[in-house]
Assembly symmetry: C2
Homo-oligomer: 466 residues x 2
């Protein structure tokens, strides 16, 4: 067997328990949660426990010319963690130590396999907060969050992952260990290599340690819901909220398709007759009630049928939970939409400048009609970052083709509106063509030059992003 | 004359008025405000008015193998904008248009020669705010601010320049025009090339357009002063402020040397008997008085002799103005400290994790004693980013040597405390050796690989950073 010398080297370096070749385990590690993406069968899955072991894996794979595909919890939605045939899948899940929490410098140092929720809980005990909260936060790892520059619901006020990454330890394709960045609040020593690795989807190096900035825990938030007669009026409310200089700590949109899907999945009395619902929160402490009232006023002026505030923390948590259920509920809804559970969901992700949100929502409705596919829309309205979710019949090639066309049309629309083909899910395998359209030929040449500078033989995560 | 064919090409492309060869003008463009740095005499200074003209300059210089040194307002403090002999100095000051302000998407698009204060005023008229406020903000340009990733006083709460740069247009060494980033609040399409150019000090490309994120204008702030019997107790107060989860909108430290220098420069009744003064502000609207009282309480508990709040906006502005005068006042103080105005100031810039601030301040005092040079300390205490300013006698080689030794010892101390050799002033020529120490051999190899990928012939700002 061709891979045997490599396997022997890996076993010698990591011990047999960290080198997995069981076919079921290999299959389990073939792909992340993205649809429409190819995935191969790896030669082996390794679970190093230290930077030194990651170095050993990368060097051994390099010697044998076998590609290395880094993986976290495989919750990604662009295929960036998908295996290629014969590759070494390098899973960082066993590197799961919270190394340090420093409440005065407001930083934490963690290994890449630490689950987002675990870090959140660990720093909360010290009165601190790690804001980035992707939908997958209960299972996704910080390493994966950094590699994909994960977003989430709190970004509208507190920004995405890259804003919290101060420094990294990275194993390069050469096997060298690079330390980037710093432990300080500010620093301008050299090029910003830290940000270059954030969001690079495992194509430039394997992240082995992350130094993150923390914030003080926010005040408890007050939450409200506004019910709209159309998605476009909800989009208009979002624009007005921005224009008025308001800073909600949450500003999410759910359309009727999602409201119905959630209500069917877990009944909680949502207004399923509404065309769109905005969920907003204010975490400004003694000023929160006032800020929430101002948000409510803007929503009413923009055409909301009804606005109501959560009466207590329990109701607020239930509303947040409804939003968090949008993804699994819509998956279920899609599966049930066609016979034999053959329905499937193609999850898109597009971001436009806030001023163009209403036009994006209108456009998606038009695309759904033109392509004759159901599309539900949910997402981070306050950031102009929406997830149009396309329902297809997996057993019907024509339906799949219409879904694929709608998927592309939505990205075209996003770019036409001055936006980006991916607000937070990344490029991976799913959007390589769209990346090329978005950044153009000069942009692609620079991307390739940077990749070649750091990984000249294309060892790391080949075929992703570029 | 060797340069004549190039000059003719430049005149043909830009018109004669934008191609300066007057010896006085050349001399004026030789250097920025950094001390201790070499500077050469350029062949020519060009002032292109458009991206196309920048392309023409870079292509012509490239054909003739003549280096290009980009310059903004030359207010930098690391020599990054210093000319090299025979170079084309490319000044972006004539590209000074505010292209667009969009209050809903909260972005502005500006040319690189727009002065920071001009942008601030333009967006303020629309109820918006561009936070980065380097000391030079009344004269420095956005292009220079981006190229150096400028900091300032508001960073303690609102972050540095890179946090506000969404996208760039950059002319590469090849003459190609690269567009990076986006106009959206979020986006993860491809590598974060935007952040790579931010802070790269003109070594990777010439910035020709900047898309910045804006914030709503903050509430008016309340300001207080705490007077300390030692710099270390002031540093301890800063650590306690962070540990308590407080978020002042300003947290600056001035030591006795600076207080006396400011009072001599422009008398305003500062407590010149104090060893250190902390200036703090809260901009939390209806909660500001409460937050200011909490900051005051922490300062008192840490050992402040006296704490007083500014009674009105006029007094608060005067305190801020005192802080803003620290740099020119200290320059004057240094000049007057030795006969014939031969005194000079060597401005250092170091950042440590907040928890190490008191140790940094203690260490700087020890270094001043050991090296037998006066050192005043001022800076952004809340970020752990201090400017130890070293007074030397320019006419005395021994004094210069002691100053240089203190400068190096301070950076060594900063690194030993887990910090960085530059918090906000950059590397330029001044700190190339220290960058190499801070990032190590692997880090330097990666820096060089990135530089070579983008500028293989070393056309742009040679000798800077690396």
């Amino acid at each position: 067997m061709a891979g045997t010398p490599l396997l022997n080297e890996l076993r010698a370096a990591l011990g047999p328990d960290a080198v997995l070749t069981d076919p079921d385990l290999l299959r389990m590690h073939e792909r992340d949660e993205a649809d429409l993406c190819a995935a191969g069968t790896p030669l082996v899955v390794v679970r190093p426990r230290s930077t030194e072991e990651v170095v050993a894996v990368v060097r051994a794979a390099g010697r044998h010319g076998v590609p290395v595909v880094p993986q976290g919890a495989r919750t990604g939605l662009a295929g960036a963690a998908n295996a290629v045939d014969g590759a070494v899948v390098l899973s960082t899940v066993a590197m799961d130590a919270v190394v340090e929490i420093d409440p005065v410098s407001r930083i934490a140092v963690v290994q890449p396999g630490v689950v987002n929720a675990t870090l959140a809980a660990a720093v909360a005990k010290r009165g601190l907060w790690y804001p980035p909260d992707p939908g997958s936060w209960e299972s996704s790892t910080i390493g994966g969050n950094v590699a994909t520059n994960a977003g989430g619901m709190c970004c509208v006020k507190y920004g995405v992952t890259t804003g919290y990454v101060l420094g990294l330890e990275v194993v390069l394709a050469s096997g060298e260990v690079l330390r980037t960045g710093r432990r300080t609040a500010k620093g301008v020593a050299g090029y910003d290599l830290t940000s270059l690795f954030v969001g690079s989807e495992g194509t430039l190096g394997v992240i082995t340690e992350v130094t993150v900035a923390l914030r003080p825990a926010p005040a408890e938030s007050l939450t409200m819901v506004a019910v709209f007669p159309s998605t476009a009026t909800a989009g208009e409310a979002v624009a007005q909220i921005a224009a008025r200089g308001l800073s909600p700590s949450l500003l999410e949109l759910l359309d009727r398709t999602h409201l119905r899907a959630i209500e069917a999945y877990r009944p909680m009395g949502l207004r399923t007759d509404a065309e769109a619902l905005l969920l907003a929160a204010a975490d400004t402490g003694s000023r929160a009630a006032e800020d929430l009232a101002e948000l409510a006023g803007v929503c009413e002026a923009a055409g909301a049928d009804e606005v109501y505030a959560a009466t207590d923390a329990v109701e607020a948590a239930a509303l947040l939970q409804a939003r968090r259920l949008a993804h699994p509920a819509m998956e279920r809804f899609a599966a049930d939409a066609y016979p034999d559970g053959n329905g499937g969901l193609v999850i898109d992700d597009v971001a436009v400048p806030r001023a163009a949100l209403a036009a994006l929502l209108d456009g998606v409705a038009r695309i759904a009609a033109e392509c004759a596919v159901p599309i539900g829309v949910v997402g981070h309205a306050g950031d102009g970052n929406m997830h149009p979710n396309i329902v297809v019949d997996r057993a019907d090639p024509a339906s799949l083709e219409r879904g694929r066309r709608a998927f592309d049309e939505i990205m075209r629309l996003g770019l036409d509106l001055g936006g980006t083909c991916t607000g937070e899910h990344g490029v991976g395998l799913l959007k390589r063509d769209w990346l090329a359209r978005e950044v153009g030929p000069v942009g692609m040449r620079v991307h390739r030059a940077v990749k070649a500078a750091l990984d000249p033989t294309g060892l790391l995560n080949p075929g992703k992003v570029l």
